[in-house]
Symmetry: C2
């Protein structure tokens, strides 16, 4: 690793445009329980168990996680569609590697921080699904592309595309891009049809950009409740982009990629003629939000993938018979939805996450006794922002902590 | 530092109860722009400016921050009350040191992670304001107390107090404790009056605990809207604890500390007879939530302290005249309140934080033009959980980045 870092620095120093770019961020070993400590405990014959962990903490049920990885991989293979799963959900090198080992063609990422962290760990086949605007991000993008030349990013603006072209020219490399086509959400992207066609023609003339296809992610389709309603929503959102893609291919443009799709539409989008790859992310973990959308099997409960991620908390105060106070509050859970986390192994209780450091569990008619010091596990409300809060996840099989995986490229990094 | 770490390890190894406790977490130098890189840039004559930063990122306006620190210090001195400011808000060693230099008697912290990080940096005079339940936390508490023997923590349960006493005995030290008295929120704490008196008597008999006083934090008083309403709320919440404290002192118990108070009640609680110290936290930063509660000067707008903390974002898509998309979404802001962040230097626009990686600014009648690539600063909705998302804050004076401070002991650490 030392030699390649030196080479990178030398290369970045030889290009005036990159002179000030900081070096790639390399994954650090986790604080708290490191892999080394964990292995040491195993050698002593005292392997780490859940009860050794400081709460609140993030737990990954490896059996459920592995089943999810395998199920999505098998589904994509059977559906004859590529999977470039989204790392924005997990931000975890070990998960990315397992997804790729199971057949994924690479990794989608949302930010330059995620791309840097993954590139530093040797991940290739990346697609950065947000527009990287501004000199600081473009400089770091060039470093990532030098490390992983097949990295793609998205463009929806001509001036920005020109800046990327110029930066790639200065760095003496070719940048692979996808046109970001707006599925109708007006968040990012060019309108399909004539605007996209005109944009594509201009991109084809930029010598240091290589246009590989389209990116069209319909975030608002992901959680539409009810399978048939969701299917219709995704179809409406994607059809204009699919048609424009077909038109450009007919004109002879060498477009091979059309990336889109979410965990909610994983078994819907492959049927759309022209989709080449899915960028589903949340399926590895699942959450309360996804459970509620309903699936093909059960229109009320989405169980195509298992809930593998929980937050473990400790009951730290138990002075009132009707409630237990835990140490997991707003700082430990995603709070962007109206609903909160669900208890994993306890029914007859309601969860309130309304203070920064504490959670309340109202014990209406609990299915078991809850005592001071007990550990409780919560299925997270919304996995992506929940994972973003943490620096590591403890991988468990039953009570045993068998691995510690670092979460990298956090938004606040 | 090496010698004391070795001593710590030796000491922990000689105590069977602590044999498995991991070593103290030492603050790491920040990723991204390190202090070293920043200093290097200064030496090159190219000091870092805001425009060099990768967004989204956290900015601390040093002038506003320093004014806040000084104002609270002066207030407490004039009010003849101690300040043990709350590190749960800032999780930052450099801020703690500045608060102590300005006259604070130590630092309040909410978790064992915060306590460990601060102890490792040499901070003393700590009060851990949450009950540390369970063997893993108690083991780490003993390590913290060995490093910083004046560390105090709170107790509201006899069995827990006994466990702490036994752990302190095994570690051959004395643990300073405060009784956590419930202000009525039923979150943690013992009821004031007879239950607290009985509890105090039992604690006095535990040879390895040193009872120093009470902890009574009325979280629900902090944001009561309207100064007079807030004053009444705090008075009602605190009076029973103050009376019980006075009773126990009359009986001769050596109680010198009664800790409570928030940024919302900093100019209310010092008038309560018996309060010895304030644990205000948010005043260093402020946020939208506090602005809304009204103060003594203006019942609608709380401006006793300046908003010093902002999130800086970049406009990454600008394809519709009525809106701008930024790169700061749910993963970059606290989302636990109904309201979101406010724009700092732009009026006539509304902010929506409703997707994970993106924010929307609706440009109703903007006070200035907003272009692709522009940087926008947002006053954070709720400072404590917002800070918890980030690994560092960039300290700015005007456009210049003059320091990089690491955020340690995050809840997800």
């Amino acid at each position: 690793m030392k030699t390649s870092r030196r080479k990178l620095l030398q290369q970045s120093l030889s290009l005036p445009a990159l002179a000030a770019a900081p070096e790639l961020i390399l994954p650090k070993s986790p604080a708290g329980y490191t892999q080394k400590e964990r292995e040491g405990r195993v050698k002593e014959g005292k392997p780490l168990t859940k009860s050794d962990l400081i709460t609140p903490c993030l737990l990954l049920d490896l059996d459920a996680f592995e089943a999810n990885v395998n199920k999505m991989a098998a589904h994509c293979k059977a559906s004859n569609i590529s999977l470039r799963p989204h790392g924005k959900s997990h931000k975890c090198v070990e998960i990315a590697k397992r997804q790729i080992k199971a057949g994924a063609v690479g990794l989608s990422v949302a930010t330059i921080r995620e791309a840097q962290a993954m590139a530093a760990a040797g991940i290739t086949g990346m697609l950065i699904t947000s527009e990287l605007i501004g000199r600081p991000k473009i400089e770091r993008l060039m470093q990532v592309v030098r490390k992983a030349p097949d990295t793609m990013t998205v463009v929806d603006n001509l001036t920005h595309a020109q800046e990327l072209n110029d930066a790639a020219a200065a760095a003496k490399l070719k940048l692979h891009v996808l046109i970001d086509v707006d599925p109708g959400g007006k968040r990012t992207g060019i309108a399909s049809g004539a605007p996209t066609i005109a944009f594509a023609e201009k991109l084809m003339k930029m010598p240091h950009l290589k246009l590989r296809g389209f990116h069209c992610y319909s975030g608002s389709s992901a959680h539409v409740a009810g399978f048939e309603a969701r299917r219709q929503h995704s179809l409406n959102a994607m059809t204009p982009a699919l048609e424009t893609f077909a038109q450009l291919k007919q004109r002879g443009l060498p477009l091979e990629i059309l990336s889109g799709g979410s965990t909610g539409t994983y078994n819907i989008d492959p049927a759309f003629k022209g989709m080449t790859e899915l960028q589903c992310g949340s399926y590895v973990f699942m959450d309360v939000e996804y459970q509620l959308i309903g699936g093909q099997r059960d229109d009320k409960f989405y169980d195509d993938f298992a809930s593998s991620l929980t937050v473990m908390a400790t009951v730290i105060s138990r002075n009132h018979p009707d409630r237990a106070t835990t140490d997991a509050g707003i700082k430990s859970f995603a709070t962007d939805r109206k609903f909160g986390p669900n208890l994993k192994d306890l029914t007859g209780a309601r969860v309130f996450i309304s203070s920064d450091e504490h959670g309340t569990v109202m014990l209406d008619h609990p299915s078991r006794e809850v005592k001071l010091g007990d550990r409780l596990e919560f299925i997270i409300p919304h996995c992506d922002p929940n994972v973003n809060l943490y620096d590591r996840m403890y991988c468990v099989r039953g009570e045993k902590v068998v691995d510690v995986w670092r979460i990298v490229g956090r938004h606040g990094d």
